[in-house]
């Protein structure tokens, strides 16, 4: 049943991502700095680290489903977020297995994967021709601010959900094994 709760939370995040940009102060919006909310993805990373066991792939499945939903609702080019989120969440799961998950490691995993998401989106959109920006401009004006801003959201999600997810995971997935 807890899996259903996760789906509902993810759906809620999908909906409120649409007003996330309005939360930023107007003065920041008018500059060239782009901050992109990846709240859904940050939650998926927390799920990947704390909910999934080493043999389950709930986070990857969720990222495929909700990635395609983001593509349909917010972006006219389908498939980009689906692919990018799924690959990055999978990488997060591999990284999780290599280290002992504590607070610092989780933060580093979040930072690495969010950068990977942004870089992959940059590459795909450059290929498609939606954007035409030099990589350095992208790095300073979009990648860095986005990583910092999303890390703040990650901390919020981490403190609210990390313990809970471990508990839910034990309740749910123990019976399967």
């Amino acid at each position: 049943m807890k899996r259903l709760v996760l789906v509902l939370i993810l759906f809620g995040l999908l909906v409120i991502e649409g007003i996330a940009i309005d939360l930023l102060p107007l003065r920041l919006l008018e500059t060239e700095i782009l901050i992109v909310p990846h709240w859904l993805f940050m939650f998926l990373i927390v799920v990947a680290i704390f909910f999934d066991k080493s043999y389950t792939f709930y986070a990857v499945v969720f990222s495929i489903v909700f990635g395609i939903l983001i593509d349909i609702v917010y972006a006219d080019i389908l498939g980009v977020y689906m692919f990018v989120y799924a690959v990055s969440v999978y990488i997060a799961q591999i990284l999780k297995r290599l280290f002992i998950t504590n607070f610092l490691v989780s933060c580093i995993i979040a930072m690495i994967t969010i950068s990977l998401v942004e870089i992959q989106i940059y590459i795909v959109y450059s290929f498609v021709g939606t954007i035409d920006l030099p990589f350095m401009f992208f790095l300073t004006h979009r990648l860095l601010p986005t990583v910092v801003a999303n890390l703040l959201f990650f901390l919020l999600v981490y403190f609210i959900f990390s313990k809970r997810l471990v508990r839910w995971s034990d309740e749910e997935l123990q019976r399967v094994s």
């Binding site: 999908l14 909906v15 649409g18 102060p25 992109v36 349909i72 006219d76 498939g79 690959v87 498609v128």
Partner: protein, 291 residues
């Protein structure tokens, strides 16, 4: 490493193929959204509709705290403007009446200036900032169609790119590319209007690029207003687009490149008007030709 095991590699390859197929599919010139897309857009839009109202109220109050400081100055200017408007309204009314009567005598019913406004509220803004699109809560059911112009009270902000039953996606002018040119004009007395095309948005200068085609020695000045023209066949004429910020001569001397400051603030939009042109647009004419 486990990442390079054969199975993972296989899945990754399928993923890449799927990505290419989906991207290719969405880049083809689609006139309508597919069925499942419409259902998803509508159901997510329904949820967004519910939360957008309280959220916007909260955001507005939060933004208006900053506005309070400049209220006094603004009030003074506004009062002066209001006094000017009073005489202007009277004049416009008279001209409107006269125009209508003259049209009647000439038997012209529809003018490219006329349009049916469809009022809509912005319910969400795409988190992907490179795409610059917003969702509004009006769709096919309310008469919104693809390629209609969208404006706020200040001026044009974009056009409708896709429509579902109850919602529509609007591409903002700042996200326009070479394929979405708008024909625009600077109004002058007599027959000396200056025509050109809005070519897109210059991200580094933060201004719209307006290219004036003809080189007739007509001088443009800064601060002049550029409005849409009906010659493009899609938009009604006379919607304000932007004011001239900077003028730059083309290196070949054939065209003039002008940078425009958009008249509407595209970062602060809540209520928008979708414009249904009274005259047939190019699309309508093409469609009726098919039948």
């Amino acid at each position: 490493m486990s990442f390079f095991r054969r199975k993972s590699l296989f899945i990754l390859l399928i993923g890449i193929i799927l990505l290419v197929v989906l991207v290719g599919y969405s880049l083809t010139k689609r006139d309508h959204l597919s069925g499942p897309e419409k259902v998803i857009v509508d159901s997510v839009g329904w949820m967004q509709n519910i939360i957008s109202q309280p959220a916007n109220f909260f955001i507005d109050t939060y933004h208006s705290i900053g506005d309070i400081r400049i209220t006094y100055e603004e009030n003074k200017i506004l009062k002066e403007k209001l006094a000017e408007y009073k005489t202007l309204v009277y004049e416009v009314n008279e001209l409107d009446k006269e125009n209508e009567e003259l049209r009647k005598t000439l038997d012209i019913v529809d003018s490219p200036r006329d349009f049916e406004p469809i009022l809509a509220t912005v319910i969400s803004r795409s988190p992907e900032r490179w795409l610059e699109q917003v969702t509004i809560n009006r769709g096919t059911k309310h008469g919104v169609e693809k390629n209609m112009a969208v404006m706020t009270v200040d001026g044009m902000i974009g056009k409708v790119t896709s429509v579902s039953n109850m919602h529509a996606t609007v591409q903002l002018i700042t996200g326009f590319d070479q394929l979405n040119r708008i024909s625009a004009t600077i109004s002058r007395k007599g027959k000396d209007n200056i025509f050109g095309l809005i070519e897109g948005y210059d991200k580094e200068k933060e201004a719209l690029v307006f290219r004036i085609m003809e080189q007739s020695g007509k001088k443009v000045k800064e601060e002049e207003l550029v409005v849409s023209s009906s010659l493009g066949g899609q938009y009604p004429s006379g919607l304000p687009i932007g004011t001239i910020k900077e003028i730059e001569a083309d290196p070949y001397g054939l065209t003039t490149k002008v940078y425009l400051e958009p008249s509407a603030n595209i970062y602060d939009i809540n209520q928008v008007i979708v414009i249904d042109r009274a005259l047939d647009t190019d699309d309508d004419i093409e469609n009726s030709g098919d039948k």
